[in-house]
Assembly symmetry: C2
Homo-oligomer: 238 residues x 2
C-alpha cells in the first residue's frame, strides 16, 4: 500500500500512475494503432474521451498563444490521456514509438467504474499523481532560479532512481538536454551551461542514456542555492 | 453539458469543481465542525481520506522547505480535499469561516462510487479542474514576468466574472492584494506597484470587494507585454 502511494509522486512527467487494470476493458473502447511519428491527437480535435496507451509511447504538448509549444508529459504504457471532459483538445499528442491507444467514452467509463471500482480508484490515483506533479512544478518555479531547478531535477532523480556503482551513483535514463530544458522551464543553453559546470566540478556527468553522480553531497548543497552559474566564475563551492 | 465543462477552468483557485451530489452521502463519512480560525488539517496528520466541505470555507496551503508557506487554494462549499492517497498530510488547512467538513475513507468512497457513478464522474471532474488550473499556472510562470501575470489574472477575471456597469466593467470579488500576490507568485510590493500604475493609467481600479475595469482594450494589450513596470517611467501605452 505505502509503496503503491509513493508511485504517485513522479520526478519526471512520464506516464504518472500507470493503470494496468484498465487493459482488461479495452474491448469496450475504440482502439487505434499509430506508427512512430504519427499524430494521435491534434489541438482542436473533438475529444470527450479518456485515452489509454495499450503499448508504445506518446509525447504530449500544448500550444501556447503565439505557437510556442510546451511539453506537458510523456505517456508510456498504461498511461491515461485525461480528455474525458475536454470538448476540443488543447493538446498535441505524437507517437514517438509505434503505439496502440484505446479511447473510452464517458458512457464506457461509467460502465467500467460500475463493474470494477478498483479501476475507478486507479484512475483517481492517476489524476492525483498529475496534480501532485504540477503543484510541485508551480512551487519550484515560484522559489527557484532556472539553474537551480535543473540541479534539483537531477538530485531528485538520483534519490528516486539512482543505483550505486563503484563509488558513484548512476541513473539509467534517456533524458535529453531538450527534455531537461522543457521539464524545468529552463533555456536549453542554460541547461548546457549547468551540465558543463557540474562536469568540470566533478559533481555529475551526463552521458547518452545515463547520468553519473560523483558527488551527491555537493549536488545536495547546490539544490539549496539561489543561483548556480553566478558561482561559476569563482569556481567555489563550500 | 458545455456550460458544465467550462466550470472546470477556474481563474482563481477557489473550490475548483464543487460536487453537490456528494452531500447526499455525508452520513457515511465522519463529520466534524470547525470554528473560524481553527485548523482542519495540520502538515503531518494521518489522512488517507477525502475531505468534503459541507459548508464554510478553508484556506489550504503547503509548507515548503525552510518554513515558507504557499497558498494552494481556497475550499468553499462542496469542494473536496483530495487526500485519499496521502498518508501524511503536506497541507495546512485552516477554517476562515465556521465550517463543517466530512471525511470519507477509501472504503466509503468505493461504496459511494458503486452506488452512484454520477458522483464518481463529478469527483474526476473536480480532480481534472485542479489539473487544468495547475498546468495553466506552470505555463504562466514559464512564459510571463510576475507583473504581467498580475495583469493576466485581472484580465481573465474580467472575462469570466465581469459585469458591465455604465461604461465600466465591474468584478465583484473579495480578492486581497495578498491573495493576488500568492496566486500569481508575485511579490506583494510588485502587486501594489502594478495596481497603482493601472489606476494612474485609468485602466483599472481595485476597491475592497470590487475591481473596476475602465479600459479593457488597454488591459488586453498589457497581457501580451513582457514587462509592465519597465514601461512605467515613460507612462506610455500604445
Amino acid at each position: 500500500m505505502k509503496e503503491d502511494l509513493e508511485k504517485l509522486n513522479v520526478v519526471v512527467p512520464d506516464t504518472f500512475f500507470p493503470i494496468e487494470k484498465l487493459a482488461k476493458y479495452t474491448h469496450l473502447g475504440s482502439v487505434k494503432t499509430y506508427p512512430k511519428g504519427s499524430t494521435v491527437v491534434f489541438p482542436g480535435d473533438k475529444m470527450l474521451t479518456l485515452g489509454y496507451v495499450i503499448y508504445g509511447r506518446l509525447r504530449i504538448s500544448t500550444f501556447f498563444e503565439d505557437e510556442r509549444e510546451k511539453l506537458l508529459y510523456f505517456a508510456g504504457q498504461h498511461c491515461i490521456l485525461a480528455l474525458l471532459f475536454t470538448e476540443l483538445s488543447e493538446i498535441y499528442a505524437v507517437a514517438t514509438e509505434d503505439s496502440r491507444v484505446c479511447f473510452f467514452s464517458e458512457r464506457q467509463i461509467r460502465q467500467i467504474f460500475r463493474a470494477d471500482d478498483d479501476v475507478a480508484i486507479d484512475v483517481l490515483k492517476s489524476y492525483q499523481s498529475k496534480i501532485n506533479y504540477y503543484i510541485k512544478q508551480v512551487t519550484e518555479m515560484d522559489y527557484f532560479n532556472p539553474t537551480v531547478r535543473v540541479v534539483r531535477l537531477l538530485y531528485k532523480l538520483c534519490l528516486t532512481s539512482g543505483i550505486e556503482v563503484d563509488d558513484c551513483i548512476e541513473i539509467n535514463i534517456d533524458l535529453s538536454m531538450k527534455d531537461i530544458s522543457e521539464i524545468t522551464g529552463t533555456h536549453y543553453v542554460t541547461v548546457s551551461k549547468v551540465l558543463g559546470w557540474l562536469r568540470r566540478q566533478n559533481i555529475l556527468e551526463k552521458k547518452k542514456n545515463k547520468i553519473i553522480i560523483r558527488n551527491l553531497a555537493k549536488l545536495n548543497i547546490l539544490t539549496h542555492e539561489t543561483h548556480i552559474l553566478e558561482a561559476t566564475n569563482e569556481k567555489i563551492i563550500k
